[in-house]
């Protein structure tokens, strides 16, 4: 028989072939996006009827990128997203780890009740509270440089503060802290360190992996925000990248510019992911352990 089912080389070849075909399915829209961003509109639309859609051929230029910057305040949108994402991630790491430290290491009246409430919020999807939260933030007070103001709509704070603390982040920290050796904490206390010192001198330096996990999960949520900024930010001054996309759909749509904009806001995240892919995948895997 010419075909030998036990042929190791052939079986290996088939395995890799299957893996590669599946990889193509996952990668082709992104390849299409990047290649299209260099093509003029008429060529871009014509190319979708053939495999030319996936290769940078024809009239290739950076014109769409210049066009995107002329059409919309792209730099501002990116800056807004970076600012909102960065601030939320940092504040979240601090505030959630502090709360988790208290739940994991300290004993205080009401702790179990408070912790149960925090855990119970895990089953409330954001989409079910978006509308009442919109009403709430439209009436909240704020004391800023101009004195007392009412209403948080059209600000950075409305995009940051509601997202700082969440049940999942606190839960991930608590799980991690409970796995740390308790003797270390006791030793610190015996030597007269305050709880604050135990937190930032002993526990935090040991918490690299969970900090990375919490930061990556928060980063993905915040950078990709859509529904919330869509309803609380009407002024372009405060718009993040995903909502800024709407700018390209007013009047005549220039698809090349849309592709350039999508490439601009997506590729940095992809590069970031490729560098840290182990940490990204580990962070998603750790959310699965809660079952």
């Amino acid at each position: 028989m010419a075909f030998d089912p036990d042929n190791y080389g052939l079986r290996l070849f088939v395995r890799y072939l299957v893996l590669c075909l599946i990889a193509l399915i996952f990668i082709f829209p992104l390849v299409f996006m990047i290649n299209s961003s260099f093509k003029p509109d008429n060529q871009l639309l014509a190319d979708t009827s053939s495999l030319r859609a996936f290769v940078p051929v024809g009239d290739i230029s950076l014109n769409n990128y210049f066009g995107a910057f002329r059409r919309a305040p792209v730099g501002l949108f990116v800056l807004n997203s970076v600012l909102v994402t960065g601030a939320t991630v940092l504040l979240s790491l601090l505030i959630c780890s502090l709360a988790a430290f208290s739940f994991a290491f300290l004993r205080w009246k009401g702790r179990d009740v408070v912790f149960s409430i925090v855990i119970a919020t895990l089953i409330i999807p954001f989409e079910t509270i978006a509308i009442p939260l919109l009403l709430l933030v439209s009436k909240l007070p704020w004391i800023g440089l101009e004195g007392l103001q009412w209403g948080w709509l059209n600000t950075y704070r409305v995009q940051i503060i509601p997202w700082i603390a969440d049940g999942l982040t606190i839960f991930l920290f608590v799980q991690y802290f409970k796995g740390l050796p308790g003797e270390l904490i006791e030793a610190g206390r015996v030597e007269g360190a305050s709880w604050w010192q135990v937190y930032y001198r002993i526990v935090m330096p040991l918490s690299g992996p969970v900090l990375a996990t919490a930061a990556i999960l928060k980063f993905l949520v915040m950078y990709n925000q859509y529904l919330w900024p869509l309803i609380v930010v009407q002024q372009e001054t405060y718009r993040p990248v995903m909502v800024g996309l709407g700018y390209f759909f007013q009047l005549n749509v220039a698809w090349g510019e849309v592709m350039a904009y999508l490439t601009l806001i997506t590729v940095p995240v992809l590069i970031f992911y490729l560098f840290l892919q182990r940490a990204f995948i580990a962070s998603i895997a750790s959310t699965g352990v809660k079952g």
Binding site: L19, F32, L98, W108, I123, T128, L133, L134, P162, M242
Partner: protein, 355 residues
């Protein structure tokens, strides 16, 4: 001794307070707000004072009835037929606008079916909401098993010991880090009816026999198209969760199976699958909850159309609560959505309970 070390009411509260206060204000409070608002006629901005309306909002959304249309008869009592022989029925308006049936006033047709000579019509107060409810359930019922199953197959593929396998894992996971908004826009090109990539590929594979379809423009294909895209985007996420589950299964079990001479299928059936039971429940529940939150895809791709075939609960909640500034209407849909999610979480608890 230990209690002296750890009993610390003031520090405990101080450390936990910022986080708890934020969660309380921005998650717990709005949640109870939603329930309260759903019992009123609150609007975002309104000159009139807000009134308590009880369960009226729920009745408005959920009220439906089945009515029967009997064939029109002439004076002799015979059924009237048109030239094509079709039985003639009175118009639905005769019921929904008649003073004889005040309870049906303002209701509109949802769907109908033939039952003998008669036609039964399901009329609902809010047909768009009913369609959104059905579409959302349909989405979850299809996406949860298909996405969960495909994710498990990918996880088993990726769990092989092959050189360079982590490259494939990285690629399969890639769509997860891309925003669903970006993904939805890209897939509009794939699904385009004129020269979309999908039509081009299908025509190429069938040597031109395939007739192009406007995937997002047809009521029958729009929701399935969005399902397929959503699965493509998120399947890598659940592949990773399955992988984590697979790695908790002890290698000694596999060795034992190999010694017993178990086939590949037997190994999967009796070693792998039992070890994945809790992961399976978690994956299904996470996909289900994400599925009920379906919004961005609809907003970017179809806006609920064509002919309401892609309306969803969250899309309706946002359209009413934000678009029409009808906070109470949007909140009512949110509460209904939460009740569904809660029920599913409780079922999960029950399925994974300690035995």
């Amino acid at each position: 001794m230990a209690s002296k070390l750890t009993l610390s009411n003031r520090t405990g509260w101080t450390f936990a307070l910022p986080g708890f206060a934020l969660i309380f204000t921005f998650i717990v409070l709005p949640f109870f707000f939603a329930i309260g608002l759903s019992l009123t006629n609150q609007r975002l901005l309104s000159p009139n004072p807000t009134q308590f309306v009880g369960l009226e909002n729920y009745r408005q959304l959920l009220d439906f009835a089945v009515v029967t249309l009997e064939p029109e008869r002439n004076e002799a009592g015979e059924v009237v037929r048109d030239e094509a022989g079709e039985i003639q029925y009175p118009r639905l308006r005769a019921i929904t606008r008649s003073d004889d049936h005040p309870q049906y006033r303002g209701m509109r047709e949802w769907f109908r079916w033939q039952s003998g000579e008669n036609v039964r019509v399901v009329i609902a107060n809010d047909v768009v909401f009913m369609k959104a409810l059905v579409n959302t359930f349909l989405f979850v019922l299809v996406v949860a098993p298909v996405q969960g199953g495909l994710a498990l197959m990918l996880a088993l593929l990726i769990n092989q010991k092959l050189r360079g396998i982590s490259v494939f894992r990285t690629i399969y996971f890639m769509p997860v880090v891309v925003s669903i908004v970006v993904v939805s826009l890209l897939w509009r090109f794939i699904y385009d009816g004129q020269n979309g990539l999908l039509n081009s590929i299908l025509q190429g594979l069938s040597f031109g026999l395939f007739q192009p379809v406007d995937w997002l423009g047809e009521p029958s294909t729009a929701l399935p198209a969005i399902m397929a895209m959503s699965i493509w985007q998120a399947v890598g996420f659940h592949m990773v969760i399955w992988l984590a589950g697979l790695q908790t299964i002890s290698p000694t079990l596999y060795e034992a199976a190999a010694i017993e001479g178990a086939s590949k299928w037997q190994t999967f059936r009796y070693v792998t699958w039992p070890g994945l039971r809790n992961t399976a429940v978690l994956v299904l529940v996470v996909i289900t909850i994400q599925g009920f939150a379906l919004f961005a895809q609809i907003d970017v791709m179809t806006n609920g159309g064509p002919r309401d075939s892609t309306q969803t609960l969250v899309f309706q909640a946002v359209e009413r609560g934000y678009g029409k500034q009808d906070i109470s209407g949007g909140s009512t849909i949110s509460v209904i959505l939460f009740a569904i999610v809660l029920a599913i979480s409780l079922i999960q608890r029950w399925l994974t309970r300690e035995r």
